[in-house]
Amino acid sequence: MNINDVIKLLLESSVSTVQLFILTLIFAVPLGFLVAKGRMSKYKIVSVPVDIYMLIMRGTPLMLQLLVVFYLPSIGFGMKGFDRIPAAVVAFSINYAAYFGEIFRGGIESIPVGQYEAGKVLGFSKTQTFFKLIFPQVIKRVIPASANETITLVKDTALAYVIAVPELFSQAKKLNSTHSSLTPLLIAGIFYFIMNWVVAKAFSVTEKKLSYYR
């Protein structure tokens, strides 16, 4: 297998990695938003379970969560369970939602009370206040931390190898052992770098566009 075949194989696995990454973000970000709201709720019946959920998600290894989501439905409950890629997306989403939840909560709680009061004065409803006044400001505050999480997610997709989901890093490792060469790993490293560079750039462009008061 020459270098072109190696690159072709690695590119194909990168596509799987990107798919995993995008699907996870689509679910984890809205869910993280709900988690943040739940955590801030004044009803203990909501905030306590959400708190426990966050403790478990952030306190146990992501690899363990992958194994549980994929195998437990079948082994523990005799259900059919998820296929490999859906299981990975579910596990990543509920894990990252916990992290995003805390980030968003930090952003929301950092908005001074004066903004809410201004909303009341302007006659906005609670929903209007949130989406027109609070939310735009929250976005600006959570961008750096969210960028961190997203970049971590790109690299965490490699953990999906444990439930045999095809992705870039495990493919590179296999090529490495088949050909006794470090080159596939180096190429994979370059691919990850490019993906993360795109992510970081996207976030920094968004941040610039949103800093309309500076």
């Binding site: 075949d5 194989l9 709900l34 994929f70 082994i75 259900m79 490999r84 509920i94 006794s180």
Partner: protein, 280 residues
């Protein structure tokens, strides 16, 4: 209030995606109204009905299961399995798995068997339904053809090579007298390089798995010879779920039929140059 409903709704939605159809592999009730369930082994029927037999393997284990240059999964175990499936009238589905997760994959029903040069051990016999040995694997010595070496005593005062951290290295450590008689033991990262050293006449023999040795000779057409005696031996078996007795028995019976009509011998010769299976 609205927000609570929103959070509750989304939690319920998430949970409902977890519930799939119940997988009734082996339990069936006798009759409506009966209070006991009877164990019915539907493992074979399930495979025949779905027309799919899922084989789990670590696809980096030549020559039993590995990827070729076109990135297809091939190997001796794969060829055997393909023939078995042909005779059962089902499709062989090859599922690459993480070897460390093989028990989970099997127990959860994601694969139907582990067929990958898996050594039979007492622990594995407890954990799964292992077939009888379909092949013996021995740690053997491979030498250049024409060299005056026919037994391990002939290697006294000579150099041999092996793969670092392999079962070959374990076997050599256990063979204390033999190891002491050697001049030097050279270790390599993989068997391919050890065999290159043999070809270059830097060492007189390589200690490695018989399966890998015979495969190497057969595919690369090298003038090497495998010595008859071995240092350690292990047996390969196929792993099924503990409850899947009918399926395991059927697969083994099919292998026996294949051995009787010579098909197993043909496949073995293609990969190893001769029939080294133990299916009777």
């Amino acid at each position: 209030m609205k927000k609570i409903i929103l959070v509750l709704l989304s939690t319920v939605l998430m949970l409902s995606t977890v519930v799939g159809c119940k997988q009734a592999n082996s339990i069936a009730t006798i009759a409506p109204g009966a209070t006991t369930s009877v164990y019915v082994d539907v493992s074979l029927q399930k495979v025949l009905d779905s027309k799919k037999f899922i084989l789990g393997l670590d696809d980096s284990f030549p020559p039993l299961g590995f990827r070729n240059d076109k990135n297809e999964v091939v190997g001796f175990d794969i060829d055997l399995a393909k023939e078995v499936c042909k005779r059962l009238g089902v499709e062989l589905v090859i599922q690459s798995i993480d070897w460390a997760a093989k028990d989970l994959e099997l127990k959860s029903g994601k694969i139907d068997c582990i067929w990958n040069g898996m050594t039979i051990t007492d622990e594995r016999k407890e954990a799964m339904n292992l077939t009888k040995a379909y092949m013996n694997n021995r740690q053997v010595l491979i030498v250049r053809k024409g060299d005056p070496i026919t037994k391990k005593e002939d290697l006294a005062g000579k150099k041999i090579a092996l793969q670092t951290e392999s079962s070959a290295e374990d076997a050599l450590t256990a063979a204390v007298d033999f190891k002491a008689s050697l001049k030097e033991v050279v270790t390599f990262e993989n068997n391919a390089n050890a065999l290159l050293d043999l070809e270059a006449k830097n060492v007189e023999a390589v200690l490695l798995d018989e399966t890998v040795a015979r495969y190497y000779i057969e595919t690369n057409k090298k003038d090497f010879v495998v010595l008859d005696e071995s240092l350690a031996s292990e047996e390969y078996g196929i792993g099924f779920r503990k409850d899947d007795k009918l399926l395991a028995d059927k697969v083994w019976k099919t292998l026996e039929e294949m051995a009787a009509d010579g098909k197993v011998s043909t496949i073995s010769t293609t990969w190893f140059g001769k029939d080294i299976t133990t299916i009777k």
